[in-house]
């Protein structure tokens, strides 16, 4: 009390100096202390407070962001000095099916477009993560469980780890002379014979081989699956060649080791690749096939030409019966497939004699793109029904929200449990039972993973972010567009999802992330963390950013503003290397919506959303000062008559005169007189004078700032929704009061009625407190029948 009184007297003195009427002093005095109809009961003098730096959640991200510069502008676009390096590859690859080995020989031509002089280059040897003595096998803590299945026991305690690292035969310069190099885990430094100046190129060759892992057993991104029934294998091969690391003005060389979780950072370049495989294999890969006439049969060529003109159904290039026939022979002959790809950041291929192959054209803008699927018979009938269709639909939707898909084809390859993306080709799970039957889970899981991995063509294959450092930039952004594309697929093909009304997306809707965001803080990491240090990459780098973007689109910005800004980002960074800041800045720059508070909360912290209704009080207009005000005047020794004539509010709980059901006009002669003196009867009749006055206190136990979406339900059953912008929290991060006026009595308030804000605790979202039975009690009632 001491403090508030002393404060008041300061104001009082100030007012005195202004020479105002005495009654007005009191009026203003009361206004000052009772602006929210609550009188301070603060009786304790506090210790002297300390100052603080800016901790407002709406402060700009100046400390987190690097300064804009000539490479990257403050608007989020590439700057005038933006550059990127180029790595071109000419490769000859041989697949040894019998021994499950890859042999390769490549010539890399590296172009230094940076303004810097380079003394060395870094080459990535990703497969070294599979060396049997790889440090990455030792970085996870472990312990003994109390029980194991025999097969688990053997693989965990008896078997040697698989040895799948790169074996480098030689590294040669242009004159075929050995080139000095040094291997550190998954990175190889090429010691240049002379410094590489800006604008210069350097060519060198590497010859290598490695053992291909069984990707089913090893759970690896690349490898083979063995089919004991017919003795064949299907090879889905990637990260199979030494690849250039990225050099830029953000990281220097991005040579953070590959430990297994943080995926890849790769420069763009042109590829010329010849792959030699058994002659009875069919193969598809990144790029345009150069020798189709040599490797295709006449029949296949005819079908391929037909597929080029088929826009509504896939054409079989290799049928199931042809594939089943091919499975029976194991040719000793080989065949070489030749591909060229322009402006890609990577290269992958799939090869087997088991593959069924279908293709369909899809119009993207005014170009034809080939949607392709390759799958062993084990994938049917699921794959022939849904794969290529899903590829085509994905390319269309993603193109609508970003840019027209620029490559000539997109291939979905079926592999037992992989879900992995490369330029123009990806490996996807989704396998029916042996008898061909499958559950909805398998079907929607398969469609979902195809949308996701085909979608990766856009992020990160074209919008080429640094996956090694930021998993969310491709996974999260891609999972968001995946959600949009899945929903569109459900709308376009209601038969596929029947009897569901929406595609059952597992990520995207706000509600689906609430469980993750409410787990123990000790096992949470901000989205802006390196993927190797994140506890649960799935919900962290995929689910949470996808929800965040979905909330931006649906709740914060609206679709029009969001979609335009998102497209702007995609187009600005198409075939370039964006950073998170480039994304954050562009989304604001193209929309005029300040989002620093949103990025800060959702991406830089582990805070969660929890907004509640703390208190709801109803007031009525009274001719007399209310109980609280009277008490206060008494305490201050101010006579009532000094207040002059006012309209007073009194809390319903203090009503003693049965005035609470009266309207303001019923209860206040003063208001009546004032109106009659100043307005005609006609004008007064037109006035919209509220009858009910409420004061609602919203509180915010959660750290994240969000709009308050409140749905007020009135006596007559009608509802009204009011959205208070997130900025409502800018001056008080704990709670905010709101006056709600209405002509009808409010009987209930619900916060976030559509579950669009990811509020983790709904128990404080309703007024009056939800008396609904707990899940436990409902279940108990149910089993009692």
């Amino acid at each position: 009390m001491l403090q508030s009184i002393s404060k008041l007297f300061v104001k009082f003195e100030t007012l005195k100096k202004l020479n105002m009427y005495k009654n007005n002093f009191i009026y203003v005095l009361i206004l000052l202390i009772s602006s929210t109809l609550s009188f301070s009961q603060d009786n304790v003098e506090k210790e002297k407070q300390q100052g603080h730096v800016n901790v407002n959640k709406f402060r700009q991200l100046y400390e987190e962001f690097s300064s804009p510069n000539m490479f990257r502008t403050a608007s989020g676009a590439p700057g005038p000095a933006y550059y990127q390096q180029q790595a071109d590859y000419v490769m000859e690859i041989e697949l040894d099916e019998k021994n499950k080995m890859i042999y390769g020989n490549e010539t890399i031509t590296y172009t230094n477009n940076s303004p810097d002089i380079l003394d060395y280059l870094w080459v990535q040897l990703d497969q070294n993560v599979r060396k049997k003595d790889s440090p990455s096998l030792k970085i996870d803590g472990n312990g003994l469980r109390s029980l194991y299945r025999p097969s688990e026991f053997k693989s965990e305690f008896v078997d040697d780890p698989f040895d799948g690292g790169f074996n480098i035969d030689h590294v040669l310069d242009q004159n075929k002379k050995p080139l000095s190099h040094f291997i550190n885990q998954t990175m190889m430094r090429i010691n240049l014979p002379y410094p590489l100046k800006s604008g210069e190129k350097f060519s060198f060759s590497i010859r290598w081989w490695f053992n291909i892992p069984d990707h089913v057993k090893e759970n690896s991104r690349s490898g083979y699956e063995y089919f004991p029934g017919d003795g064949n294998s299907a090879f889905t091969i990637a990260q199979f060649f030494p690849r250039m690391a990225v050099y830029n003005e953000v990281e220097g060389w991005q040579n953070y080791q590959f430990w297994g979780d943080g995926e890849f950072a790769l420069p763009f370049g042109n590829y010329d690749v010849k792959i030699t495989v058994p002659s009875d294999h069919v193969l598809d890969a990144t790029g345009i096939l150069q020798n189709r006439k040599e490797v295709f049969s006449k029949e296949m060529l005819k079908r391929y030409n037909k597929a080029k003109k088929s826009y509504d159904e896939p054409i079989m290039i290799v049928t199931q019966s042809e594939a089943e026939e091919a499975e029976k022979n194991f040719s000793n002959q080989t065949k070489t497939w030749h591909f060229k790809a322009q402006n890609v950041r990577d290269f992958a291929f799939a090869s087997s004699r088991k593959y069924i192959w279908d293709m369909m054209s899809v119009k993207i803008g005014n170009r034809d793109v080939m949607a392709v699927s390759m799958y062993p018979k084990e994938g049917n009938p699921l794959w022939e029904d849904y794969s290529t269709l899903t590829v085509a639909e994905t390319l269309k939707t993603y193109s609508d929200y970003t840019f027209d898909y620029p490559y000539s084809k997109a291939i979905s390859v079926h592999a037992k449990q992989q879900g992995m993306e490369y330029p123009m080709i990806c490996f996807n799970f989704g396998r029916p039972n042996i008898d061909g039957s499958y559950t909805d889970e398998v079907k929607f899981g398969m469609i979902g993973v195809i949308v996701h991995e085909i979608g990766h063509n856009f992020f990160p294959m074209i919008v080429n972010s640094d996956e090694r450092q930021w998993a969310w930039m491709d996974e999260g952004i891609n999972t968001f567009v995946q959600y949009v594309a899945e929903q569109k697929l459900g709308e376009d093909y209601p038969d596929i999802i029947y009897p569901l009304e929406k595609f059952p997306s597992d990520r995207g809707p706000a509600e689906l992330i609430t469980r993750y965001m409410s787990i123990d803080q000790r096992i949470l990491a901000p989205i802006m963390s390196n993927p190797e240090n994140i506890f649960n990459l799935g919900p962290n780098a995929y689910g949470k950013p996808a929800v965040a973007l979905n909330i931006l689109r649906e709740t914060i910005m609206g679709r029009e503003l969001f979609d335009h800004a998102f497209k702007t980002f995609s187009k600005r960074w198409m075939f370039k290397h964006p950073t998170p800041e480039d994304f954050f800045r562009t989304m604001e720059d193209a929309s005029a919506v300040d989002l620093d508070w949103f990025w800060r909360g959702w991406f830089y912290t582990t805070d969660y959303v929890d907004i509640g209704i703390k208190d709801v009080r109803q007031f009525y207009v009274s001719p007399e000062p209310g109980v609280k005000l009277k008490e206060y005047l008494d305490e201050m020794g101010i006579p009532m008559n000094r207040l002059g004539s006012n309209i007073y509010f009194e809390d319903f709980l203090n009503d003693s005169s049965n005035l609470k059901d009266g309207s303001p006009l019923d209860n206040s002669k003063l208001l009546n007189n004032y109106l009659k003196e100043n307005y005609s009867d006609e004008e007064i009749a037109k006035l919209d004078i509220p009858k009910y006055f409420y004061q609602v206190v919203f509180d915010k136990p959660g750290g994240l700032v969000m709009p308050i979406i409140a749905e007020y339900e009135y006596e007559d059953g009608s509802k009204e929704r009011i959205k208070y912008p997130a900025q409502v929290w800018r001056k008080n991060d704990d709670q905010v009061n709101k006056v709600v006026l209405s002509d009808k009595k409010i009987i209930g308030i619900v916060l976030d009625p559509d579950l669009e804000t990811a509020d983790i605790d709904k128990s404080n979202n309703t007024w009056p407190k939800n008396q609904e039975k707990s899940d436990f009690e409902k279940f108990k009632d149910k089993i009692k029948g």
Binding site: L147, M420, E421, E475, D506, D775
Partner: protein, 164 residues
């Protein structure tokens, strides 16, 4: 409802790769003194749970299996008997497993403990899935009319004592 089940499955794979799932169960213990009962709702990932039952009892349950079938219900009850307990005044409390229900992307298990004589403290133990997943985390929310507490249990700390 079927669609809900597969959500969990692709949670496992729909990642570029090798993502670790998070192994977390959440149990709400509501002590209703007047009713002499503790109502427990355990939420688990259905695939973790089925995996645990299969490993433990050499079964071949899958995501389509009806967990409320008498035989499966007995299995779950056995599993809970070993892995979820409440002790009051040195007595292990008797429990009744009511059944399970799919809810959002998880399975909820409903268990009721009988508790008499208003003890001064109770000990809750929870070792669900710890034999399967080394990094399993079991979150306990404990709630009475007047108090609300949360605890994080794991391999190294499988029980907690709460003063009432």
């Amino acid at each position: 409802m079927k669609s809900k089940v597969f959500l969990i499955l692709i949670g496992l794979f729909l990642c570029s790769f090798e993502t670790h799932k998070y192994y977390v169960s959440t149990s709400l213990f509501e002590y209703k003194e007047k009713m002499n009962t503790i109502q427990v709702t355990v939420r688990v990932f259905e695939d973790d749970f089925i995996n645990a039952l299969n490993t433990r009892y050499q079964k071949d349950l899958d995501l389509d299996s009806d967990l409320n079938e008498p035989e499966n219900k007995q299995l779950i009850s056995d599993y809970l008997l070993v892995n979820l307990g409440v002790v009051a005044e040195n007595q292990k409390l008797k429990f009744n497993f009511l059944g399970s229900e799919e809810k959002n992307d998880t399975t909820a298990l409903y268990i009721e403990f009988d508790i008499f004589n208003s003890p001064k403290s109770i000990k809750i133990s929870n070792s669900l899935f710890i034999e399967l997943f080394d990094d399993q985390q079991n979150v306990i929310h404990f709630k009475t009319d007047i108090q609300r507490k949360s605890f994080l249990l794991n391999k190294d700390s499988q029980s907690v004592t709460i003063d009432l």
